[in-house]
């Protein structure tokens, strides 16, 4: 194994300050009760909260350089925001806009990206990347949207995250000149909201019929930009999953300290204590692994392995942690009124997002030379 730079796996003071601001906002605006009340209404996303987060706190522009109107921070800070969003399953289009669409345009470069990125960074514009949420890094360039002779686009992309609230769609499409990434105004597409398994994260089908489009980047650079977006999102998703794990552990510990059965707090029974100690052990592993992926993405080293390890390891930890939280809450954990189900739905759909753990293991095996 070659020499790797020494990663920074801790949180900086700036990152802790950012975390505190985001957590304050989410505690105030995205309480579990408010979320539960919201998910079945006609406005399942809280776009006011999204504006505050994206524009006032500047969370949407963390990865965008200052000359493009962003904060010139990095994936590390973005990861901290995602940890907090995972801890609260906040109903905002951060993943689709600030992570996927933004990192695709950042990697693409060029004048169209330079025009759009400042607006995304400022929270004026919400974006989405028109690929299925399940698309893994390293997947073949999608062939479901074609470029017509007049430069318009036709075709479809299914289960696109955050498309239903996006004004801008970044669309991978294939034309006579090969692959390209295109910018399409969402009003030019037909976006059909789907019933999402994850109640706090929306997915939609995107239909394009001779939709007007602007070319952002073409050829191998388009493929690289798409892969960069998927890799960044997969790596940073581990931080959201760490946030979910942390929620599951702390909520369950609090509950078991206060719940009395057989004359004492249930949290005093050793069989339950040991399960929580195991969740803590998992959380320690998840946090270090997710931090490494964020640091690798920020520093541009060891990225493919760091991301594959993160998704192979942290995704199942998050699912298991929330499943344990539900079991250890007993009957109340199974109800609609308790927020645990929102976290389970997020954790399970996160496990499918950007490639399943099995798929990441297969990719990792090739990367680290463990041949079949």
């Amino acid at each position: 194994m070659s020499e790797l730079p020494t990663p920074d796996l801790l949180y900086s003071e700036v990152e802790e300050d950012l975390r505190a601001s985001v957590r304050d906002l989410l505690t105030d605006q995205a309480s579990p009760a408010a979320l539960l009340a919201r998910v079945e209404t006609s406005e399942p996303y809280d776009l006011k909260l999204w504006k505050t987060l994206a524009a006032d706190l500047g969370a949407a522009g963390l990865m965008v350089p200052e000359e493009l109107g962003g904060h010139g921070a990095s994936a590390r800070e973005t990861a901290v925001v995602l940890e907090e969003l995972g801890r609260s399953v906040a109903p905002v289009p951060f993943l689709g806009s600030a992570v996927l669409a933004t990192s695709a345009l950042l990697a693409a470069g060029g004048s169209v990206a330079a025009e759009l990125l400042p607006r995304l960074a400022a929270g004026e514009l919400t974006g989405a990347l028109a690929v299925p949420l399940s698309t893994a890094p390293g997947a073949a360039f999608p062939a479901t949207v074609s470029v017509n002779g007049d430069g318009t686009l036709s075709g479809r992309a299914g289960t696109v995250v955050d498309a239903s609230v996006a004004e801008l769609l970044v669309v991978p499409a294939t034309g006579p000149d090969g692959p390209g990434l295109y910018a399409v105004e969402a009003s030019a597409a037909q976006v059909t909201e789907l019933v999402s398994f994850d109640l706090t994260r929306r997915v939609a089908d995107v239909e394009l019929a001779n939709a007007a489009a602007r070319l952002v980047v073409s050829g191998a650079a388009a493929e690289a930009a798409l892969d960069n977006a998927l890799t960044t999102a997969a790596g940073l998703l581990a931080s959201e999953q760490t946030g979910l794990t942390e929620w599951a552990l702390t909520t369950t510990v609090t509950y078991l300290k206060g719940r009395y059965q057989f004359g004492r707090p249930v949290g005093g029974f050793q069989s339950l204590k040991h399960r929580l100690a195991n969740l803590y052990t998992d959380l320690v592993n998840a946090r270090a692994t997710a931090r490494y992926a964020a640091d690798a993405l920020a520093g541009g080293f060891d990225v493919p392995i760091a991301v594959a390890v993160a998704q192979a390891r942290v995704a199942p930890i998050a699912v298991h942690a929330v499943e344990e939280a539900i079991q250890l809450h007993g009957g109340i954990g199974m109800t609609w009124e308790h927020p645990a189900h929102l976290f389970l739905k997020r954790a399970k759909s996160d496990e499918l997002a950007f490639g399943t753990p099995g798929r990441h293991r297969a990719r990792l095996a090739d990367l680290v030379d463990l041949p079949a």
């Binding site: 990663p7 707090p265 100690a277 320690v284 592993n285 270090a288």
Partner: protein, 392 residues
């Protein structure tokens, strides 16, 4: 004190003591006297009161020069447990007498804590020490004592007052392993080796000058030892694929005939866990260096034990026919545990001890849940009962 200062000191030391021409022991003694043994120890005791985080700088500089080390794995108990306890509770005479030969490896130490009836419940121990003039007379039995057969000294916890509750009434001693009445018997284990020992103490006279800490304060002193044990288990910085996972991955690459899809997926799962654990260990070290020690240490040990056990089990399966053989059942008396120096069967069997030694995984999970997560502690039926009245 900066890394550069220390590197300059090491360079100066090496200029005065060429490792190629200097006798090993002479070199180590000089290194101790120069305050370059454990830099965070006080001056005159092998250190210079520098931050503990700078020790790796010194180790790296000596290693790069090809200098002899003090074989830290052979004397790990002395370095990791006896030394910090003697430093914390010893008199000036004790510190001066014991720390130098401990660090140079001239005197090996063992830990006389566990007993047949007091393993995880260490405070239940029954080995008696009775005052007799300037001496104490000690009688009892200890078990799982690694290095007892090579040790010159042992750190020993005894019961000096059976009439008070078990955590009181204990006293801590430094035991001369060559004293009359100390008998070390090999304890053969599932590996076939006798890595551990039983130690029988029969009327052993220990001068009161070899007592560490106050009479009746043995539990407090022992806590310092145990806390340092858990820090020591945090381990060294490993590169990616360091240790067992590297060994199994190498076999996988070199032996295509052994591969099956099912084994591959399990191997990759373990690879991922090993990498994740390596990162968690680095993060823990970074927290310690930044002065914010986290409670992750116990969790790391639980996770390491489980991974080692799964991985060594996989290795035997992977080897197929060869996994049916064992390298050698001859009872040996190794000076240190060497996981990588023997074959797969040995590793599988030895790994069974990982979740028992240094605190069982069950006890560590109690520690995590109570001290980290703040869950209620186990009901304590023995708290206010005199030790002599406890059922056993």
């Amino acid at each position: 004190m900066t890394p550069d200062d220390l590197q300059a000191q090491v360079a100066g030391f090496l200029a005065a003591h060429d490792p190629k021409t200097t006798d090993r022991l002479e070199f180590l003694r000089a290194r101790y006297d120069a305050g370059l043994a454990w830099v965070h120890f006080p001056e005159g005791l092998g250190g210079q009161g520098a931050p503990r985080a700078l020790q790796p700088v010194v180790e790296a500089a000596f290693a790069a020069a090809g200098a002899p080390d003090n074989d830290p794995r052979r004397i790990g108990i002395g370095l990791g447990m006896a030394a910090p306890t003697i430093l914390a509770f010893g008199t000036d005479e004790q510190r001066t007498r014991y720390l130098r030969p401990l660090w140079t490896g001239e005197e090996v130490w063992c830990q006389l804590f566990s007993e047949p009836g007091a393993g995880s419940d260490l405070a239940a121990l029954a080995t008696r020490a009775v005052r007799d003039g300037d001496d104490w007379v000690v009688t009892g039995q200890k078990v799982w004592t690694s290095s007892a057969h090579t040790a010159r000294w042992g750190i020993l916890v005894t019961r000096t007052d059976p009439d008070v509750p078990k955590h009181q009434g204990m006293t801590y001693f430094l035991c001369d392993m060559t004293a009359p009445g100390v008998e070390v018997r090999p304890l053969r284990q599932i590996t076939g080796e006798a890595e551990f020992n039983e130690v029988f103490l029969t009327g052993v006279r220990i001068p009161d000058t070899q007592r560490l800490g106050a009479v009746g304060e043995g539990w407090k002193v022992a806590q310092t030892t145990l806390m340092n044990e858990r820090v020591a288990i945090g381990g060294n910085a490993l590169p990616r694929e360091g240790g067992l996972i590297g060994m199994v991955s190498k076999t996988w690459r070199e032996r295509p005939e052994l591969r099956t899809p099912e084994l591959r997926d399990r191997l990759v799962q373990h690879w991922v866990e090993a990498e994740s654990l390596r990162l968690a260990a680095s993060r823990l070290r970074q927290q310690l260096t930044a002065g914010a020690p986290g409670p992750e240490g116990s969790a790391m040990k639980v996770a390491f034990s489980e991974l080692n056990q799964k991985l060594t089990g996989l290795e035997i399966e992977l080897l197929g026919e060869e996994g049916l053989r064992y390298d050698d059942w001859t009872p040996r008396r190794p000076e240190k545990v060497d996981f990588l120096g023997r074959e797969a069967g040995y590793r599988y069997l030895r790994a069974k001890g990982n979740s028992i030694e240094g605190g069982t995984s069950e006890i560590l999970r109690n520690i995590i849940s109570e001290r980290v997560l703040g869950l209620p502690s186990e009901p304590r039926v023995d708290k206010d009962v005199a030790w002599k009245d406890l059922p056993r």
